[in-house]
Amino acid sequence: MPQPPTHSSSLDMAQPEPIDLSSGKYVKLWQGPQHPGITGNMSLELTLCGDEIVECKTHVGYLHRGFEKFMERRTYIQNFTVVCRIAVPEPTFNEYLYSAAIEELAGIEVPERANWLRALNLEMMRLASFLMWTGGMSGAFGLYTVPNWTLTYRDYILDLFEELTGARIYHMYIVPGGVRNVLPDGWKARALEILKGTEKMMREVDRVMMNNAVFKARSKGLGLIPPDMVDPYGIVGPNARAAGFKRDLRKDEPYLVYDQLDFEVVTATASDAYERAWVRQQEIFQCINLIRQMLERMPDSGPFQAQMPNVLHWKIPPGETYLKAECTRGEYGYYVVTDGSEYVRRVHVRGPSYTHAIAVMERLAVGTNIADIAGLMVSLHTYPPEIER
């Protein structure tokens, strides 16, 4: 654990020398809004001097659908179908946090079995999301074999989701009050089988990507995040853990059933793109392990939904809460304010990408080679829709 950061140095906004485009020294280049190096739609307005980036400005809004606004017009139950769309590759965290916040404000106690099923879903989601990221990360460095492997296994996990929840991407499974369904017959066995395959595949990824001379050469030292940058920039999750911060909400402020599970927080020290990738690789194995633990220990019977009021005219007393969970990118949070009516007064969704993809990215990009900008971006693991909600 590094010393508490000092705030002086890191707070300076990136202040590049004044850029005179007419000098002919610079080139403006737009990366995105459609670009495989950006997981989602977002653009980077880059100013280059030669191969080197001297200024990076981010532009978001391509995915702005005004979720927070129109959640104020929909009933509590209707909103649960909306929130999953705020982070496409990881909808489950939205479902869980929204439901948990509503439950806290409405005073609903969720049955134990639902908590296990929720945690199981969250870990499966983490696994699927990390697999997709692994593909993206290796692809950004020109390794196109790994994405084929990881996306295949991600699809197997989506098969499991499809069986359990009825959908592959927008599961809409975790609902205020509990979950919508229980594990189908034979599901556990199939899940274990797929986990086994995923684990084997990930060991191969370890050899092909993490121990690849090209990958190492290009990612080591790239996008260095000094520890004293972490708090001022609100950096969380693997990005912070790779900088030596042993912070994981599952461990620090356990929710659902995480206090009953056995795992260690993964940390690294070099805090570059390679270490961030390494932390995520370790967390994939950790995730598989957690799912196995849960499959073994979760109850097979009992209620999975709390006694619910009639959701068609569900009123929740005035209150506010902020709940958070550790998603693949770190602290994901839902701030919910109710005013006693049938509609939520305010929802604010705190996604880690909000700072990772804008303030952090704009700073780290400066001085980076144009060829590595995609790798840098992916190494921060960002999802644009959670920025603009």
Binding site: I77, T81, L164, A167, A213
Partner: protein
């Protein structure tokens, strides 16, 4: 850079010898969705009741409720069906979860190709689709609910307690219970069409959720001036069609109605409820102060007409007073309703019998309109040998005696013949008078016309039910103060023409049982003898009942009829509606001279 890191990536080549994931699967086979996949919608149109809950819950207005060829609105079914717009649907399945009838589900079909985008707007279950008949797909898990399927239990006196007195059995909801129960309503309004009085059920239930009981009372009085009464003894047809009851228990509409009335003091009625309009100078005579007559009186009086009610008995209420025992409908509740009607200036002439004290034709001559609601007060006779035995009495007389505080002297063993509400009342009253009670009924329990709740309570209170038992003769018993009933067992025979099965006596299986009293409660008929033949000859009367035209009007313009004597359902709420509708007709007739 280590050598290992250079070689390691070549590990990829190992995969070249593995079985590929995707290629090689030829011909390409369609992969079906998972068994619980949320694919295209399917609606079992015969089960759907068109309640529109799917429409209400849809977060993206992807559903319209639309009229469909060949489906008509009728009791318990709006005749509307959901039409899906797949341009807006997000396949969340909330419509499936909320579906009250359980008719809506999703199939695991997920591929649909068409050249016309308008095809993607379709009425599920009413148009042929390639996924019709698919069994897989998303459906609501039976343990997963978006509204509480079970109703809030009404607290009742324990049978051993209830049988010992005439105290009201149902204790009424507490505010907390009422709010929880009111919460279960999905506000579809299907019940409104079935309620004979078309009460604004969803609206007054809504007022309970808002805690605005005065508004609730106002809403109820729009269609029913007997809410305290109906909140206790209504036949509640509404509950039989409540969509919430299809997969769970219907909303306890009756108890909620009672709850609202119980929250408002009678003294506040005048402030809350509408007042009488300006005097019109018209006079209206009403025959019979039962629910029908008084309902007409209330709505006519509100319009400013002078109303006089003629009642042959000493108190108002008709069957509610003399036919319904006080453990179901205590007098104070009935009085609360009646007193408000009287407080508006409705005049009631008690112990005044039309035909005896005033000629029927005088009413027609002296009033601007006459409303007749004289009910069914003549007990049907069994017409078996020995029916005139002194220990055989009819159920109405028993209830009447008890209501008037007379001891009917039934002894300690009583047989009640019949399966209607009067029979159940007679049986339960007899239990309260200390008798062992046997109920004999020609058919089966499920054929009994009595309210199921009453049947269950009678059973709980210790009444013994002997079904498929047909009485054939009443004989003198060994003791002069007893009677021996000869009855035979019956077999149920399916009527080839349909209808309920009919019992057929089995002569070889006859029984003789001796009782202190046999109470016959097999039904009631009307007595229209007060109408002189020259008038009745002009009227449409069948099976002892009036056949009214629109607005309850008879061929004689001035004469309007309603209640048990003019409808087939013969319950309080229908009488109330007849009275209300006749009042509407009379007002219209007096106002414009128009016939219905």
């Amino acid at each position: 850079m280590s050598l290992k890191d250079l070689i390691s990536p070549f590990f990829v080549w190992q995969r070249a010898f593995e079985k590929p994931y995707t290629v090689g699967l030829k011909p390409i086979v369609e992969r079906p969705g998972a068994p619980a996949y949320r694919g295209f919608h399917i609606n079992m149109s015969d089960d759907c009741v068109g309640c529109g809950s799917c429409f209400t819950i849809c977060q993206n207005h992807a559903i319209d409720m639309v009229k469909v060829d060949g489906l008509e609105a009728h009791g318990g079914d709006s005749g509307l069906r959901p039409r899906f717009d797949y341009g807006r649907c997000c396949w969340c399945g909330l419509c499936v979860d909320i579906c009250t009838a359980g008719s809506l589900r999703m199939t695991n079909e997920y591929a649909w190709f068409t050249t016309n985008p308008d095809d993607f707007r379709f009425v599920a279950g009413m148009e042929n689709k390639s996924w019709d008949g698919r069994t897989g797909g998303y459906h609501r898990h039976p343990d997963y609910h978006l509204f509480p399927p079970k109703r809030i239990e009404m607290e009742m006196l324990a049978p051993e307690e209830s049988v010992a007195s005439f105290t009201e059995v149902a204790k009424g909801y507490t505010e907390e219970q009422a709010k929880l129960e009111a919460d279960r309503c999905v506000e579809c309004g299907i019940c409104v069409a079935t309620c004979p009085a078309h009460m604004d059920v969803p609206d007054y239930i809504h007022s309970i959720r808002d805690g605005d009981y005065e508004k609730g009372l106002q809403l109820m009085y729009r269609t029913n001036p007997f809410p305290a009464t109906c909140g206790r003894i209504c036949t509640r047809r509404c509950e039989s069609v409540c969509p919430v009851g299809i997969q769970g228990e219907p909303v306890a509409i009756r108890w909620l109605k009672r709850f609202i009335v119980d929250q408002v003091a009678e003294a506040d009625y005048a402030r809350i409820l509408p007042n009488v309009e300006a005097d019109t100078g018209k006079r209206i005579a009403i025959v019979g102060a039962g629910p029908g007559g008084l309902s007409a009186a209330y709505y006519l009086r509100l319009k400013g007409h002078a109303v006089e009610v003629f009642e042959s008995q000493a108190q108002a209420g008709g069957m509610l007073r003399y036919g319904v025992p006080s453990y179901r409908l205590p007098d104070p509740a009935l009085d609360k309703d009646i007193e408000h009607i009287r407080s508006l200036g409705v005049e009631i002439h008690f112990n005044h019998s039309i035909g005896r004290d005033t000629a029927f034709s005088d009413l027609l001559d002296n009033y601007d309109a006459v409303f007749v609601s004289t009910g069914l007060n003549v007990p049907s006779q069994m017409r078996i040998q020995g029916e005139d035995h002194p220990r055989v009495m009819d159920g109405l007389k028993l209830l009447d005696d008890v209501a008037n505080g007379k001891d009917p002297q039934i002894g300690t063993s009583v047989a009640v013949i019949g399966g209607g509400n009067v029979a159940m009342d007679a049986a339960r009253v007899s239990r309260r008078l200390g008798a062992e009670v046997t109920v004999l009924y020609r058919r089966r329990i499920e054929d009994m016309p009595a309210d199921t709740e009453e049947i269950h309570e009678a059973q709980a209170e210790g009444c013994i039910f002997v079904t498929q038992a047909i009485p054939v003769e009443a004989l003198n018993a060994a003791q002069s103060d007893q009677v021996t009933l000869k009855w035979g067992e019956a077999e149920m025979l399916q009527d080839p023409k349909g209808g309920r099965p009919r019992p057929v006596l089995q002569e070889e299986r006859m029984h003789l049982d001796t009782f202190d009293t046999v109470v016959s409660a097999i039904g009631q008929g009307s007595n229209l003898d007060y109408i002189p033949t020259e008038i009745s000859d002009q009227l449409q009367i069948k099976w002892g009942k009036f056949i009214p035209g629109d607005y309850q009007q008879m061929v004689l313009n001035k004469l309007f009829v309603g209640g048990d004597v003019a409808n087939a359902t013969a319950d309080a709420i229908s009488a109330i509606e007849d009275g209300h509708h006749a009042a509407r007709g009379i007002h219209r007739f007096l106002d414009t001279g128009q016939r219905g």
